[in-house]
Symmetry: C2
Subunit: 320 residues, 2 copies
Amino acid sequence: MRTTPLYGAVQDDLSRVEAVFDEIKKVDFGPLSEMLGMVLGGGGKLMRPGLALLCGRFGTYDLDRLVSLAASVELLHTATLVHDDVIDRADTRRGRPTVNSAFENSTTVMLGDFLFAHAANRAVETGSLRVVQLFSETLMIMARGEIRQDLAAYDSRQTIRDYLARIGGKTASLFATACEGAGEISKQPEEQVSALREYGYNFGMAFQVVDDILDFTGDEEEMGKPVGSDLMQGTLTLPSFLLMERSPNGNPVEAYFKAPSPEKLQAAVKTVRESGAVEESSQMAKDFCGRAIDALSALPDTADRETLAELARYVLDRHS
Amino acid sequence: MRTTPLYGAVQDDLSRVEAVFDEIKKVDFGPLSEMLGMVLGGGGKLMRPGLALLCGRFGTYDLDRLVSLAASVELLHTATLVHDDVIDRADTRRGRPTVNSAFENSTTVMLGDFLFAHAANRAVETGSLRVVQLFSETLMIMARGEIRQDLAAYDSRQTIRDYLARIGGKTASLFATACEGAGEISKQPEEQVSALREYGYNFGMAFQVVDDILDFTGDEEEMGKPVGSDLMQGTLTLPSFLLMERSPNGNPVEAYFKAPSPEKLQAAVKTVRESGAVEESSQMAKDFCGRAIDALSALPDTADRETLAELARYVLDRHS
């Protein structure tokens, strides 16, 4: 994806963000350097940094500070991914794939903390206390969202509203921060900064809903994880909620939650796929995408604005 | 301890720091609030906040900002403690006690992240980017130190120099930040700020060496953990290093590491206790304490300076 001109005018500047990661990987302790290489190794889509740089173009495009912001956002994202991989060994039988099964849990936690520290460091480099504050608040929202998700696992009494609040905290808030932070750093008028936040938030919501759909419909190889892995971890997402709404008097998702087995998982995934819940979920993703694009109307009508709109549409069509 | 006038002139102001924790515990999600109550429940010595407030008295004592700093330091400390408790379930047989065995590992990680977020938030409240930077750098050093410790576990080829670097990162750096940050916030001359940092760093070194001695000599009940728990986790500390130096051709610590068993652990602890390694370790703690007190000579000779000196001496004499 990085080779396509998806990020328009900032495509080349993204290499500056990658240079920051290369710098971070240069630690004088071999094993740590190796671990950093695994998690900052490149190959990521750099979607959050791409958005941050693009949003910065609607004001004073101060590349150094915007690169610090972009790197900070991606480091925070990476840190939370690393921490997501810390699990209870006893739970591996639920089938959750661990990206980093090479490390001990305790080392994985510290690796995440190390990345948090770098994220904070780069946020400081933007020179804006307001940006640092956005970061700390985002991390707070993300952590609280994950705790809610953990404690709600295997609880089918959740609602679609719970789901939307959860993905808002887990995903959309960081996209919002990437865009709002860029508006702040590039000294844009408050009205534009709000519009960028609105764009980022809805972009993030669409992004996560599509992610959750792909967990049912995607190709295992392209995604690098088994189909149905959310259910396997006890996590209900939009397609499941919509299925449950359609069949309140019993359905294979609830049956799987009551007594998990590989057969019941397969049945649950199949039913969700065939129930129309996927189509309805796609419509919701489309709605979020529409709201993101609508928010852009507060910005000047430039090629960069078109790039942002195209990115939102791309998110709907992605397959992995 | 909190009831003794150990913190001199700032004794009462410490309740302001506790009020910050009470505020944080008020989240609108019961289970999270409960978890926060367990880790921020009070009863801690608040040593780092106490030092921060005291150090602030050598300049403009801006209580609001100093309370933010003090709370931030303690929150960062608490977050790292919470993360320290994340372990590999498979390793519990090594006997490591988990303070928070009530939570799942994944929830524990997020709880720590939530506390990091609050720590960052309070650091922002100091209004000083320099303080936020101190924090991010401290977290980086701490995480790197823990990773080194994890990867060096059960490796007896480490040296005393490795040990000192490790506790410098794990413990002393945060004490140094508490003191330096206070100097910064209270607008003290650069020379005093350096002296405070020097005091804090050496204070932290003494504190950790004493902690490591107590792991061999302390009372299990007072400490709330079994004697020899460091060795049980595969961690070599100063008394073990000194014993190994004295008996390079084999000793019960190395024998325990080669094939851990409860009997071998008991033998290792007993030998360390009787070898004179404990006395030599105490002397090193005393030396660090002396360096901390020496650093104070750059500060005006006030009652607050005497309180800082007394605190350093108290650390040497503590039993838990």
